[in-house]
Symmetry: C2
Subunit: 885 residues, 2 copies
């Protein structure tokens, strides 16, 4: 009878039953282990409990059902037959590792238990069949590690509390290093660990290996719902419904003896993309020791000297895997007593520049097509390429105080903080910080995200800090061993300098160097590979990519990043400086249309010259300028002291101005007197702004000979007659100016679609609009019925309860808001087939949202300058996946 027929629904697979295509049910780790078996690589035998079992666990009220329990032990029995060892059999015991493995890699998130199956009898049995005198120490070292991991992972007893016991034993013995503890010390540790366990939990440490196994599987399932996992998933858009698989695998021991070891390696350099085996290993160590960054490992090249055949064998496997997966692999291996075992392979995480180099090289090596290459790079990652690097001249003068590993590229400068909490808090109040830690751990994730960069004293290129920083595209220098760290006292000493909390340092993740104080930085240089890669992307995309820019500087930056126009210029940002704010306040307090026009006339030259600057930078590329949007009270002071001051400036009494402020107060400013509603009440504002736009375009086109087609955008429209009303003011003004100038100039008048009613009646609205620009920030607020400013108070509970899994303001809600966008696009085109459709909300630079915009047929996305390359790549990937006809 075949296994798969024994059970109505299959929840467990042996490694030999699966392959790489089955990651949905086996998880990434399980599917790749199965694939390695299939490719003939030496993989310790094992079984995978599926992600569906995990989902069942939650559906069944956080319980492993009898059905699944039965399958686990049935398949485990198969495993015992194959390896001819038996769980809990002292004469021939099977020890296993239990590891999580979700569909997507979630570094450091899930929990691992090694050496499961040990108890007093098994340990004694193993010693009885000992091969060497050292073996007994190894057995009890493994046993105490197992107790420690099991207690931590399954029972929630912090493993640091066991470290205290180790310290006690070392102190009693008068030694400093773990290695100085002998067999008896290890036995003593096992005794004390079990006693501590009993003290903590009120019951004996479970000696039944079957109970250990089920508890361990349960713990992995449970870990899918812990806080760290939830935060990580939210940050990385991983659905809760995916669940995690559990891999139960025969132990192999890298810590067995000096002919043993564990390592991690990449088929190419994950920082640069260079083609060469790149990795680290530790002799006589378990894999966790390498990754945790507690001991600093040796580079993989050293293995060539230490164990040349093993190195060659590993190099062969690495090539086999890269050829199979056609991508750079990140592999874990263990050598037990001179025999190599492959424990894991996966597509390696890499820096953005490595990602691009690998993709370009794989094309040149004939392994993948250009299409595949374009799909290989996460658009979001490009962010790190575009961020500043230290200014080369400034760097020469900067005082270098240390050297660590160049763990994740980029330059960071900020005030030193020593805890993730501080990093989060300081960043929240606007400080730029560098997080300095002995080593990082998964609890630090949020703090790491908040920091400009991360500096650690311990850990290698594959340490937690390094892996996570690369994933986030942040700058990281790891393993800067010269640091004398005093985390508790909040200072560290390096090269004779005492750096305290709040002091500035600068770190360069591309060189591993640490500098004293603040080093200025410059924009990223964009390399040859980048240019070649982005050219492939540009050839493949159907969406145009524009930028949101309110001034010539941002416009120029965006052009450098490949923007094809401006999708949104917010005119109100120009109103806040000096004379301008005074004039706009005069306009607001004006009691008559005439007085309002007088104040507006003062603003006109400022606006016009701003627009001229933008037109000069943008040449003949399209520029969409939005008419005044915010409610007028935003330009007035709210505090009494400020009201007094401004009243004096405006030549009013305090009471008069206070009265104006009060009259402009709104219960819900978000849904108040703003957007085109201002232009309906005060057409003279639209008239002045149109004058500024058209006059600027006329002047610049006369000066440069460029053919400029101004695009004037009317915000917050909800009804076609409203648009028509404001448009009448705009066209009357524009037509008059163009006629007066005696030239020919085409211009367009369009609208934001940011009110649900505008989307619902887009067929009507399109009658008056040359273009639609989706303002998905407001559209999201109105569609969800919550304001971005207030939602913070309750969204926490929504994330905790899995009601929302991602922030709808960061990532377009395709189900609800997206339905309105799709509807408006369809209705708009129905009325006006050649209508231009774009998006200018913050979603315009977020890859999944860009893909959505492509799929619903928009013409362009517009985003902040630094996100332009991200949008270009996301657009290309969208068109490769779903080509536009």
């Amino acid at each position: 009878m075949r296994h798969s027929h024994k059970f109505a629904r299959k929840y467990v697979y042996t490694f030999s039953e699966g392959d790489a295509s089955m990651r949905e049910i086996l998880g990434g780790k399980g599917a790749n282990l199965a694939q390695m078996v299939r490719l003939g690589l030496p993989v310790p035998f094992g079984i995978t409990v599926t992600t569906e079992a995990c989902n069942r666990y939650y559906e069944d009220g956080r319980q492993i059902s009898d059905e699944i329990r039965e399958q686990i032990f049935w398949y485990f029995g198969k495993l015992e037959e194959v390896v001819r060892k038996k769980l809990g059999d002292p004469s021939n015991p099977l020890l296993v590792s239990v590891r999580s493995g979700a569909r997507a890699s979630m570094p450091g998130m899930m929990d691992t238990i090694l050496n499961l199956g040990l108890n007093d009898e098994v340990a004694a049995g193993m010693v009885a069949s000992a091969e060497s005198p050292d073996f007994e120490r190894f057995v009890y070292d493994s046993y105490r590690r197992f107790i420690q991991m099991f207690a931590d992972v399954v029972m929630g007893i912090d493993k640091k509390r066991f470290e205290v016991i180790i310290d006690d034993v070392k102190a009693e013995k008068g030694v400093k290093l773990d290695i100085e503890l002998d067999t008896d010390d290890m036995k003593e540790l096992v005794r004390r660990f079990k006693a501590f366990y009993k003290e903590q939990k009120g019951e004996d440490f479970p000696s039944d290996p079957k109970e250990q196994l089920i508890e361990a599987v349960t713990a992995v399932f449970r870990s899918w719902d812990n806080d760290r996992a939830n935060v990580y998933r939210r940050m990385n858009n991983i659905p809760y419904s995916w669940g995690t698989a559990v891999n139960i695998q025969m132990m192999v021991f890298g810590n067995r003896n000096e002919r043993s070891g564990s390592g991690v390696a990449f088929t190419r350099d994950p920082a640069t993309g260079e083609k060469a085996l790149f990795g680290e290993y530790l002799i006589n160590a378990q894999g966790e020791d390498v990754v945790a960054g507690i001991r600093t490992p040796s580079p993989i090249e050293d293995l060539k000297k230490d164990m040349p055949e093993i190195y060659d064998e590993f190099a062969r496997y690495a090539q086999t895997l890269e050829n199979y997966y056609k991508d750079m692999q990140d592999m874990e291996f263990t050598i037990e007593d001179g025999k190599l075992y492959m424990l894991q392979t996966r597509n390696g995480k890499r820096t953005a520049s490595a990602a691009i180099k690998v993709a370009v090289d794989l094309v040149d090596e004939g392994m993948i097509t250009e299409d595949e290459a374009v799909l290989r790079v996460e658009p979001q990652q490009l962010d790190s390429l575009l961020h500043p690097q230290f200014d080369a001249k400034a760097l020469k003068k900067a005082e270098e105080i240390g050297q660590g590993l160049a763990a994740s590229p980029g330059a960071a400068c900020g005030k030193v903080v020593f805890t993730a909490e501080d990093a989060k808090e300081w960043a929240a109040r606007g400080e730029k910080v560098v997080l300095v830690r002995l080593e990082t751990s998964p609890e630090d994730i949020e703090g790491m995200t908040a920091a400009q960069g991360i500096l650690t004293a311990r850990g290698g290129m594959t340490s937690h800090a390094a892996v996570v920083a690369r994933g986030m595209g942040s700058c990281c220098v790891s393993g800067c061993g010269a640091i004398q760290m005093h985390e508790e006292e909040k200072y560290f000493v390096l090269a004779g300098h005492t750096i305290r909390e709040g002091d500035f340092i600068s770190i360069d993740g591309s060189t591993g160097k640490v500098y004293l104080g603040q080093v200025p930085s410059v924009s990223a240089m964009i390399s040859g590979d980048f240019g070649r890669f982005m050219a492939w992307a540009d050839e493949r995309r159907a969406l145009e990519v524009r930028t949101n820019a309110d001034n010539p500087r941002d416009a120029a930056q965006a052009l450098e990043f490949g923007a094809q126009g401006i999708g949104l210029t917010r005119t109100e940002h120009m109103f806040f400086e000096g004379e301008r704010i005074k004039a706009i306040r005069e306009m607001i307090v004006a009691k008559t249309t005439e007085a309002r026009k007088t104040a507006l006339a003062k603003l006109l030259p400022f606006q016009q010259s701003d627009f001229e600057g933008i037109y000069e930078v943008m040449g003949e590329l399209p520029v969409t300028i939005r008419l005044l949007d915010p409610p007028l009270h935003e330009f007035l002071p709210q505090e009494d002291a400020d009201i007094q001051e401004i009243a004096d400036e405006l030549g009013m009494t305090f009471d008069e101005l206070k009265q104006v402020v009060a009259s402009l107060h709104e219960f819900n400013p978000m849904m108040g007197h703003r957007g085109c509603r201002l232009a309906v009440s005060y057409p003279e504002i639209a008239e002045m702004q149109t004058t500024a736009i058209i006059s600027a375009a006329i002047n610049v086109s006369k000066r440069t000979g460029n053919r400029i087609v101004p695009e004037i955008m009317i915000p917050l429209v909800g009804e076609v007659k409203e648009l028509k009303f404001v448009k009448n003011t705009v066209t009357a003004t524009a037509d008059r100016l163009i006629a007066e100038a005696g030239i020919k100039m085409r211009y367009e008048v369009g609208t934001m679609i940011e009110i649900p009613r505008a989307a619902l009646t887009a067929d009507e609205i399109a009658k008056e609009a040359d273009f639609f620009s989706f303002g998905t920030n407001d559209l999201t607020q109105m569609t969800f019925g919550f304001s971005r400013d207030d939602a913070g108070k309750f969204l926490g509970a929504y994330y905790d309860n899995k009601i929302y899994e991602s922030d709808p303001f960061a990532r377009l809600d395709q189900t609800g808001v997206g339905k309105l966008v799709e509807m408006a696009a369809r209705l708009g085109r129905q009325t006006r087939p050649d209508i231009s459709l774009g998006i200018c909300g913050e979603h315009g630079g977020e890859p999944t949202s860009v893909e959505f915009c492509h799929n619903v047929g928009l013409d362009y996305v517009s985003c902040s300058p630094f996100r332009v390359p991200i949008a270009r790549l996301a657009a290309a990937q969208a068109n490769i996946k779903n080509p536009r006809k």
Copy 2:
């Protein structure tokens, strides 16, 4: 050649070309004039310029095009041929009236010019062919009236300024009454009027009758867009796009001599519906004199004595018209020198009770079917039937100080104001007012709407005040001649009492009596005809009608009005009294879940007993109870003094409570932490409320034996997982209570659809909802993106500019919001075919919105108790027009 072939597009019709079916292009007045011609009634000849010409006028930039001008004169020429008179021909002049006539009746809105065609030569010519010595005075009286009306209507010179000139002439002559002015005085008036006109306009009064004619037509078109017309249309839901027609008709003169006169009459009594000619007339007067209420006319019965043949002839025509139109007619007639002319007929405006009596009687008379009867009554009108009447006992003790005409039924009590502006202002700040005027005019409309009732010193049953009040269903006593009015000084004297602004009076529009001070009122008694009529309506409707009621008193009132259940009980309204508000504040300031639960436990008995009261009233009818909806800060004080007081009460420091208040502050409370978001943050609130609901249902069902199926409604849902989360709390609590009670009880859990995203994802949401209740108040706010509290600041400009023609909060916006409702209904049924669908927003009692709800297939509407009969009738009409399968 037939007329209709002469022009590519026909903009003018002679009366003999039209009929009653053509009101869209001829307007109501024009179509009915044409129909009277067709029925063989004596109608002075005339032509109608169509509503399409009016729309062309606006499209052409407020200009009458040459094409239309040509048609007007061509058809006018036809008219001259028929009547054998000629415009401007002194020897045989044609004088005409120019009157507006829109598709729907707009009483007093549009402008009228009489005696057009007069100039010095024509006047002299008429006098030359004079039939009697009095004729010369008549001619110049007509001439000066024409100048006055033309100057007012066409040139915007207030007619009151001409009255001043009349007063001068009377003073010079030492007389008091117009009638005392002789022929020479009239000539003098013509002279002075023309001089005043020239002084005002800088040019001579137009003597060319053709110019007069075109100017008059233009003025009518222009009047379609004046402020009064715009306000009236908005109040009565008349689209701007309808336009008005213009009727040009040969003059007949009711003021020619003592064998002449003008009158207005109804085929049935418009106040009671009684079948008998009902009307008023004035001997030797023009029609305007009767309607304007300047002289108090005689009842139509007197005509039987004065001119018996004329009366009989008129009574015959009245019957002919009622038979033709199968409805009560409102007719205008003029008698010129012993010959009767019909000038207008239309379906008569009537009180609600008259409308019902007429409809029921017409069925009994075999003239219409029950279906037609149900369609005959404006649902909105029923309102007046249901409003309070004076308490009979209190009335006996009340001091009666005057008697006027019972112009519009109902009872009103309020503070006296003397101007429409004051009525509006006082009402806006919450005062109940009675508007007291010498007579009302169209400018007073908004003030009349704002007042509880209207009392006038002059004017009959068909005066402006009476007609408008009946149309609005407000109470009106008109023509209370004993009043000594001092409008300017803001007091009046009646029966020896001096009543000043702000003093209370009470008026009874059903009896015409005026009382001193405040008289208490009681609910309306519902008559036999009403019951019969509503039974016809109930047999015909498909929609169920429920009520919104938060307490047993409102529930009982609604039952009396025919409600079939409660569609919305708002639980928060119960929280504001005494101990309750204290407990809810304790709940809000609680720092732990335990403390919150303790506070909630104090609220539980109050809520439960409220619900028991409601269940007791409602028997087995459905009752939908909504969980807590408003943001918590609504329950806390905002002012420092109050914060101090409440802090003391709660045993907190000022700073602590101030801190809580500050932490609950929201930028956009409308889009903040409210609705089900509260239950996500604090499930214990939903738990307490569910306990109150289910325990109340259990207790009452045990006590009464009634089968109660509680309906629990979760507000502000935007995402199915959010609903599911709160629902889990509700069902866990309810199931436990039901199990503990050891009974069987079914209950339903549903949701409000009031967030656009809920409507867009209704297919998902329906998976967890037994019912949807559309909360169209919030849905309107979110869909339009403006808050009801703030929109007042800009909606004025929107109405002025015709961007919105009706208030979307009063009348469901079918284009935008309605699209979401329709979509949600369809998607909800798709997932759950038996889902119950209702509406509980304020639109649930508004007739056009009820019709929409019927058409999109909802199961019920829910509205305030007083609107229940309106909804019942509107639902019946909807189902007659568009029967549900």
